[in-house]
């Protein structure tokens, strides 16, 4: 199908974007890479009054390296992240995950801010942000605020970003010496949305953060798993089995790919594989 009728604006400055967003009558929808929004419009699941194209805002397409963090502009496209030397060096988990995010032609257009702002439960990047304890910079006419990833993803297509607000940056802590990262997903076709997947960050003190995607209404931390794995130096078969069994705490939700029981089964498999690959 084709997209329903809408008006189109391509502002040149952040303040123009915020002005448009503050006008409720316009029913604005932000257009980043469009790789999820356009299908939703073609399916008539989304019918914005005004489409606000962000591609003219140059400050959203910058990657900054600070002393302890990497700040990624919301309009940075996946392919730019994939080939960026600072990301490879300081955010190896992102580099590990990106080849599994959709297909080359989609990665050429899709943006990090778009993925985060959509909060698709099966997308990889929300889980990456959760397990890295990232912060999301949100801007509105009232100013700039930082939302931790842990309280940003509310539910399917629902985030802490309000309709008059705009995601401007994603702030990721630099990887520390002694940190290890794990990732595994199972999808029907390479590049398709995962049936279930997991990201793991392991600190030097053996604290582990574990975030799943494709299993619930949004990306989620598995605190039960984290508790079992915390401080454990040798990940024996028994420990991994305990961690797998603790996934019964999560309320699994089915989708077009698999029902809740199948999701739980696959989540247990990806967890074990990701942990074993980290050794």
């Amino acid at each position: 199908m084709k997209a329903p009728d809408f008006s189109y604006e391509k502002p040149n400055s952040l303040s123009d974007v915020l002005n448009l967003l503050s006008d409720d009558n316009l029913e604005c929808q932000l257009l980043a890479g469009g790789q999820s929004l356009m299908p939703m419009m073609n399916f008539r699941m989304a019918s914005p009054g005004t489409l606000v194209d962000l591609s003219g805002i140059s400050e959203l397409s910058v990657i900054n390296v600070t002393d302890d963090a990497i700040e990624i502009g919301a309009m940075i496209r996946y392919y730019e992240l994939q080939s960026h030397e600072s990301i490879k060096k300081h955010c190896p988990l992102i580099t590990k995950v990106l080849p599994y995010v959709a297909h080359a032609a989609i990665r050429n257009r899709g943006t990090i801010g778009g993925s985060i702002g959509l909060s698709d439960p099966a997308a990889e990047l929300p889980a990456v942000l959760l397990c890295l304890d990232a912060k999301i910079e949100i801007t509105s006419q009232n100013g700039v605020r930082l939302e931790p990833a842990s309280s940003f993803f509310k539910s399917i297509y629902e985030t802490a970003c309000e309709t008059d607000e705009l995601i401007t940056k994603i702030i990721l802590p630099k990887a520390q010496t002694g940190q290890l990262f794990g990732f595994h997903e199972i999808a029907r076709r390479h590049g398709d949305y995962a049936m279930a997947g997991v990201c793991i960050a392991q600190d030097a003190d053996l604290t582990r953060r574990v975030a799943f995607f494709g299993v619930s209404s949004s990306a989620i931390r598995a605190f039960g798993v984290e508790k079992i794995l915390s401080g454990v130096s040798e990940l024996s078969e028994n420990i991994i089995l305990d961690a797998q069994n603790s996934l019964d705490e999560i309320e699994f939700e089915g989708d077009m790919n698999a029902g809740p029981e199948a999701k739980k089964h696959i989540a247990k498999i990806v967890l074990a594989r990701a942990l074993k690959e980290m050794k």
Binding site: F6, Y8, G34, N42, S55, H103, A105, N108, R109, H190
Partner: protein, 158 residues
């Protein structure tokens, strides 16, 4: 508030200035406004890959790109793959190796293949399969397509 816009695009090296409804996607623009029907429209939600073309040097789904977003951009479609992308050998290998039957996926399949080869990737069947995983083909079973890409890479190396 505008429902139409004037855009300037370069398509296969030629410049066009056209008025478009803002809701028109790039594939429909090329096919109906410019008469360039080589770009095929399959699923219209970014899954099948038939509409893939080059937008400012990188592959993109033209069904997920509005024509108005392409304002100022350089576009290369299958009509320009020989002249703008020097892909005659790849096209010959698709033809000789039966890497197409109905031809519906071919414009997008060639776009992804050209990008894979341009990036200096190896004639590695697994890597080729991953790269073209965003393009559906319902005729060939893919093996002949992978053959054509690998053959082209090997021929260019020799």
């Amino acid at each position: 508030m505008s429902k139409t816009a004037q855009i300037t695009v370069s398509v296969n090296g030629e410049k066009y200035i056209e008025d478009v409804p803002v809701r028109m996607n790039l594939a429909d623009f090329l096919r109906t406004k410019l008469g360039l029907t080589g770009t095929h429209v399959g699923c219209e939600h970014g899954v099948c890959g038939a509409c893939t073309l080059f937008l400012d040097g990188r592959t993109a789904r033209s069904c997920l790109t509005l024509a108005v977003q392409a304002d100022g951009a350089e576009i290369i479609t299958i009509e320009g793959f020989e002249s703008e992308k020097n892909a005659s050998d790849l096209i010959k290998n698709f033809h000789q190796g039966n890497a197409l039957q109905c031809g519906y996926c071919t414009p997008g399949m060639l776009a992804s293949s050209i990008e894979y080869i341009e990036q200096g990737n190896p004639a590695d069947r697994q890597k080729v399969k991953e790269y073209i995983s965003g393009n559906y083909c319902r005729c060939t079973g893919y093996q002949a397509i992978v053959d054509a890409i690998c053959t082209t890479i090997e021929e260019r190396q020799n």
